[in-house]
């Protein structure tokens, strides 16, 4: 039972990712190509398992490629947040005292900002580059990671093995990276997993508003937006990408929470 609680969400995520990476190249229609003979085709049209959208592009292929792009953006942004958060938290926790107080004050102040608006502004400023989309998202999602790492670092700071390394003359950076951080790797990984669904949400939110990923590239947020526009005639275009998005977010959240409870306890 316990094993299943982890295996089920992990398996679902794995299945979706596998499909998103392998299937598109096997499908007869590319996600950008317009099939002039089948515009707004219903599901189960020959060649289009899920039919096509209002300009004749294959929905299955678009959903799979959209999933891939959403996940790539999410993983990259989670990585950016990992680097900033771990460095910030580790430095604050290691130095302690005034440095710690100041750095954590900054984190607290940033928590109070209306972040979605800052992200919206960032998107407007840096134009429509997908690279900057995820750097921007990662740059605002690191706060929780910083708090967690700082808490762990404070707990480890006076443990004998750290003191021993210090007494042996090891440099601070060496101790932090070789002794302290590996010691909290499990907790960091759990919170990294929890960051991914959050970033998926932010990316889809931005793309839904037309500020994130831009055509001809696609992402789950764009597909949900397109589906919502045509839902009166063609509900499947909303339900399929929406379903994939919800499945991914739910499974990743559940997975992250269960691993966090297991490892951080």
């Amino acid at each position: 039972m316990n094993r299943l609680r982890l295996a089920l969400p992990a398996g679902l995520v794995g299945l979706v990712l596998l499909a998103a990476w392998l299937l598109p190249s096997l499908l007869p229609w590319d996600y950008r190509v317009i099939d002039w003979d089948h515009v707004s085709a219903p599901a189960a049209t020959p060649g289009h398992v899920l039919g096509t959208d209002s300009v004749g592009r294959d929905l299955l292929s678009r959903t799979l490629v959209g999933t891939r792009i959403t996940m790539m953006v999410a993983i990259a942004a989670a990585f950016v947040s990992l680097i900033i958060g771990v460095l910030w938290g580790a430095i604050a926790g290691w130095c302690g005292g005034k440095v710690d107080a100041l750095m954590m004050r900054i984190v607290d102040a940033l928590y109070a900002l209306p972040f979605m608006f800052v992200v919206i502004l960032l998107m407007v400023v840096f134009g429509r580059s997908i690279l900057l989309v995820f750097i921007g998202i990662g740059a605002v999602e690191w706060l929780t990671m910083a708090r967690v790492v700082r808490g762990q670092m404070l707990a480890l700071r006076h443990r004998p093995f750290i003191l021993a390394a210090e007494a042996a003359g090891a440099k601070a950076g060496f101790i932090v990276f070789r002794h302290a951080l590996p010691n909290m790797a499990a907790v960091i990984l759990a919170y990294l997993l929890l960051t991914v669904p959050q970033v998926v949400m932010v990316e889809s939110f931005l793309s839904f508003l037309g500020l994130g990923v831009q055509e001809p590239m696609t992402s789950l947020g764009i597909l949900v937006k397109e589906g919502a526009d045509d839902m009166d005639v063609y509900p499947i275009a909303l339900l399929v990408p929406g379903g994939v998005l919800v499945t991914l977010v739910v499974c990743l959240t559940v997975l992250g929470e269960r691993l966090r409870d297991r490892w951080a306890a």
Binding site: P114, F117, F208, P235
Partner: protein
């Protein structure tokens, strides 16, 4: 208490200034201008427009002027909606956003606390497990998916409620947007209530009350609920902020004339005063909500009054 409130209000000034500064600088670095239209303006008109709105001044001067006007409660003119000031637009949009957000907050708290209570009455029973699983699912639902799906099911297929629109706040038009906005927070509140109650039920004062023969609902409502709701209260501040942000999407999905869409539209149109005004207002509201949550926390938990 008053000292605490004053101190918190003073401490919020730097945060607010930081928000204004950040938004101001970001907007000005963005390429493009509010006067870019289909046809380029001739240079003289362009220069006259820039001068009229003070955009020809150096950025620090513009910022100083903006802050000075802001201190007098003047958000400035909208650069794109030409005949309106930002204050006009806020006056028309804010009531809509606050109605939707406020109703969503109330539904999230009411529904969440109710489901949390239902779950904890029989801990680890089938109802508890089922409810908590559905609440976890709720927290992960993005509003821009639930919104259209709810509209699809309840408006297009069943025909019970209107698809979109505002209609001067007629209740029928409010149900779907409020529900879509409230669901994720409702899940979070239910989980917090459940966890808080489960923790409180282990404590000595509950054991003492049990020993005096109190059981079931009376035990929970008179002895356990107040301390158990503390996590919910500290979540309410950030939740209110999240609902305001979430309203941006909900207003787009349901075509509501709220404030949120001005952020997106204004940012795309480079309507600097509009975006700055709305972002500043939202930041102030978020700070206010967090303060209110802290005051409520102090009222519920005498230990933190100090």
């Amino acid at each position: 208490m008053i000292g605490l409130v004053l101190r918190r209000l003073l401490a919020s000034i730097p945060t607010l200034l930081a928000v204004i500064l950040l938004s101001f600088v970001l907007m000005r670095f963005a390429p493009g201008s509010p006067f870019d239209g289909e046809r380029p303006l001739d240079p003289e008109t362009r220069a006259a427009l820039d001068a009229a709105y003070g955009l020809d001044q150096p950025i620090p001067v513009q910022l100083g002027r903006y802050l000075l006007h802001l201190a007098h409660g003047d958000f400035g003119p909208s650069l794109v909606y030409r005949d309106f000031t930002v204050t006009d637009l806020i006056h028309s949009g804010l009531p809509v956003s606050l109605t939707i957000g406020g109703l969503a907050l109330i539904s999230a708290l009411g529904g969440g606390i109710m489901f949390g209570l239902m779950a904890v009455l029989r801990p680890d029973g089938p109802l508890d497990r089922g409810l908590m699983l559905s609440m976890t699912l709720l927290t992960a639902l993005p509003t821009f998916v639930t919104g259209p799906v709810l509209a699809l099911v309840f408006a297009l297929w069943l025909g019970w409620l209107p698809v979109a629109g505002w209609a001067a706040g007629a209740p029928r038009y409010l149900v779907l947007p409020v529900l879509a906005l409230a669901l994720p927070s409702m899940g979070a509140v239910a989980k917090l209530t459940r966890a808080g109650l489960a923790q409180v039920m282990e404590q000595d004062h509950i054991r003492a009350a049990r020993a005096r023969g109190k059981t079931g609902w009376r035990l929970i409502s008179h002895h356990a609920l107040r301390p158990a709701l503390l996590p919910v209260v500290s979540y309410a501040g950030p939740a209110a902020a999240g609902l305001l942000t979430g309203a941006v999407v909900i207003e787009t999905v349901f075509a509501l004339p709220g404030l949120g869409r001005y952020v997106v539209q204004g940012a795309l149109n480079r309507d600097y005063p509009l975006v700055l005004g709305v972002v500043t207002l939202y930041a102030a509201l978020i700070i206010l909500f967090n303060l209110l949550a802290d005051i409520l926390y102090g009222w519920l938990d005498p230990r933190v009054r100090g």
